[in-house]
């Protein structure tokens, strides 16, 4: 494979600390040495890897100021916030820093490059330390070699912040490659929430995204992360996320996936302390020829902890989803509660949902369950709704909202929940005659 991505033209390492230069070099090496995935790889089972080309995508120059301003203007899904950063094609468009009050408490919220400059020890400890084990190691390597856009959030012990930090990652240019990174470090007894949003400027601009997000939740920390992936359908996207939860930490991840032509989502959860409770919720609307490929890994290295995963997918047209989940309970991690559920609703007979749930349990006193169901639209329900005068597509939309409500109602912000309903509604609108 040849791609200019192998040889980054912009110099990243000039002013960077040596540890980072080493990690970048290792990443580039990883990217170059690993082969592109093939259909024979277990980690890519059912995925259309043949169509997974990253060729001819490149980091692009920063867009015009007018574009940065216009997209900053559109970065308005969450108005009550503690901070916001907006990137367009990995170029900084806007940054709203934290209040003096939070700064006085030791909170750090900075664009990635500034965080590296100002807090190198913190970044050395946490930045690019969690690769993926779920198949996209090659792409993680490219991310490590190239990443320059992102948000770093550090919340010291005992600090609680009510409003969320909101990170917008936009694409705009021609065949733009972006590598956004969100790093959240929540120290013991802290409380914080983050919203990451992935958007395209237009319906047409083609893009490649390889994003990474890491959450480190200290003892009894509460972290709530919401992810909205609404790329246009000309985007190839990899999201490689890891959550590490220490003792009694409570972490909630809620992901809403609407966009991209091909979206690979790798989500790793590692429980490192007893009493931790991690929830992973996801809802996906797939249409046309979209493919959503979701791989999850719940690892319990400590006992007495809970992880609960619920992924719901609604599929239209010729779309495809793949869910492959693994729960691994380490030896000695007794009294683990680990759950994994994948539910798929097929709205058209041509849609295709694949599920591969899995368990690997090395402890003997655990409660684990995994299950996947795939169902079609209930014709009797549809008839009932249509008898009230509701058209077939609107009835289906209502059913999809009903199907998703279980996840949407977990979002604590009414504003965001309503905005998400609107995004899903917009996706259906073109289909309602």
């Amino acid at each position: 494979m040849t791609t200019t991505l192998e040889n980054p033209t912009h110099s990243l390492s000039a002013n960077e600390p040596s540890w980072l230069a080493e990690r970048r070099a290792a990443g580039l090496d990883q990217f170059k040495s690993l082969a592109m995935p093939t259909a024979r790889d277990e980690a890519w089972r059912f995925a259309s890897v043949g169509k997974l080309s990253i060729d001819d995508f490149n980091p692009v120059p920063a867009p015009a100021t007018s574009t940065l301003d216009a997209l900053t203007e559109r970065s308005d899904l969450v108005t009550a916030r503690a901070g916001r950063c907006v990137y367009v094609d990995d170029a900084p468009a806007n940054f709203e820093g934290i209040s003096q009050e939070l700064a006085d408490q030791g909170v750090i919220y900075l664009p990635l490059t500034e965080a590296i400059e100002q807090h190198p020890e913190l970044l050395e400890k946490y930045f690019l330390q969690e690769s993926t084990e779920l198949g996209s190691e090659k792409f993680f390597g490219l991310h490590a070699a190239t990443v320059k856009a992102g948000a770093v959030l550090y919340v010291p012990k005992g600090v609680e912040i009510a409003d969320p930090f909101v990170n917008y990652y936009w694409t705009s240019g021609t065949r733009s490659a972006v590598f956004p990174h969100t790093l959240v470090i929540a120290e013991d007894n802290s409380k914080v929430s983050v919203v990451d949003l992935f958007f395209s400027e237009t319906k047409e601009n083609e893009a490649l995204n390889i994003s990474v997000s890491n959450i480190h939740a200290g003892a009894n920390a509460h972290v709530f992360r919401k992810i909205v992936q609404d790329w246009n359908e000309k985007t190839v996207s990899f999201q490689l996320d890891t959550t590490v939860a220490e003792r009694d930490a409570q972490v909630q991840n809620v992901a809403v996936n609407i966009g991209a032509e091909r979206a690979r989502f790798e989500s790793q959860t590692r429980i490192e302390g007893p009493g931790a409770d991690v929830k992973m919720y996801s809802l996906t609307v797939a249409e046309e020829s979209q493919e959503f490929d979701q791989r999850t890994y719940q690892t319990h290295n400590a006992g007495n902890a809970v992880s609960d995963l619920l992924y719901k997918n609604a599929l239209l047209d010729n779309s495809r989803t793949i869910f492959s989940g693994l729960i691994k309970v380490a030896e000695g991690a007794q009294q683990t509660d680990a759950y994994q559920t994948n539910r798929n609703l097929l709205l058209d007979p041509t849609a295709d949902a694949n599920a591969l749930p899995g368990l690997e349990i090395l402890a003997n006193d655990v409660r684990c369950s995994h299950g996947a169901t795939t169902g079609n639209v209930d014709e009797a329900e549809l008839f009932y709704m249509m008898q009230r005068g509701i058209s077939r597509r609107v009835a289906m939309q209502l059913m999809v909202f009903g199907f998703f409500e279980e996840v949407i109602e977990k979002i604590d912000s009414d504003e965001l929940a309503e905005n998400l309903r609107q995004l899903i509604h917009n996706k259906f609108e073109s289909k309602i005659k």
Binding site: F383, M386, R388, R392, V394, G402, F403
Partner: protein
């Protein structure tokens, strides 16, 4: 023109004839009761009128104020003005009553026009109050976990909110205790008007103590075999459906 007219309707399922040259005319302003033994085609008639696709229509017409609705999609038939109160209302998880009825009302508006939310809720609450439904129900998922009586009240609420020209009520009394029966009947009686016709399908006479019909039809083996006034329902109750079978089996053979 102000009638719901079913003409020579022949319907089958899997090659078996269910409705056989069925004829019935319901003028606006009248309540017609349709009674008959189980398995005689009453519920099939209701579903075919509403546009259910599981049945094969061999021939016939259903004229709603002169417009043939047979063969149209269920939502189009609803827009034409026919409402079916289901014998077994479906449970729709995650869809609230308020949003469901709102979507049904929205579907009747011209494109670009939106429902006035304030007026909508005012009307919804008033109609719920008269059906003695708790206002908290609006946020509950449609019919999910409802008792039999709650489901039927919810059907009448939808009927009241959509103000159809013709109401077909399929075994609305099934699963109701006497209090619920009274409340549901009051709801229906409240909607009786010169502008609206009713077809009340029931197996039992007791519903007709509350919703007094103008005409009672007896259905047997896919067609109406006898019609009369409200006294016919009482006669049926006392003589039982065996009487119908004996009386009309030869006629339909």
């Amino acid at each position: 023109m102000n009638t719901l007219e079913i003409k020579n309707l022949n319907v089958s399922i899997d090659g078996q004839a269910i409705l056989k040259d069925f004829n019935l005319t319901i003028p606006k302003g009248e309540v017609h009761a349709l009674m008959g033994p189980n398995g005689t085609g009453k519920s099939t008639l209701a579903k075919v009128m509403a546009g259910h696709e599981d049945y094969t229509v061999e021939s016939g017409e259903i004229l709603l104020d002169g417009e043939n609705i047979l063969g149209k999609e269920a939502d189009e038939i609803s827009h034409a003005g026919l409402f079916l109160a289901f014998q077994y209302p479906m449970e729709i998880p995650g869809v609230s009553i308020a949003n469901f009825i709102r979507a049904a009302r929205q579907a009747r508006l011209p494109e670009g026009e939106d429902i006035n939310a304030v007026e909508y809720y005012k009307e919804l609450y008033a109609k719920m109050d008269s059906l003695k439904m708790d206002r908290k129900f609006t946020a509950r998922s449609l019919n999910e976990g409802f008792s039999g009586g709650e489901k039927k009240r919810c059907e009448i609420l939808q009927m009241a909110m959509l103000e159809p020209k013709y109401c077909v009520m399929d075994e609305t009394d099934s699963g109701l205790d006497i209090d619920a029966l009274r409340i549901v009947s009051e709801g229906v009686n409240h909607m009786r008007s010169e502008e609206r016709g009713f077809l009340v399908i029931t197996h039992y006479q007791r519903l007709l103590d509350y919703i007094i019909p103008d005409v009672v039809h007896v259905m047997y083996d896919g067609r109406i075999v006898h019609s009369g006034d409200k006294e016919l329902a009482k006669e049926l109750e006392s003589k039982g459906y065996d009487w119908v079978k004996e009386e009309f089996a030869s006629a339909s053979a």
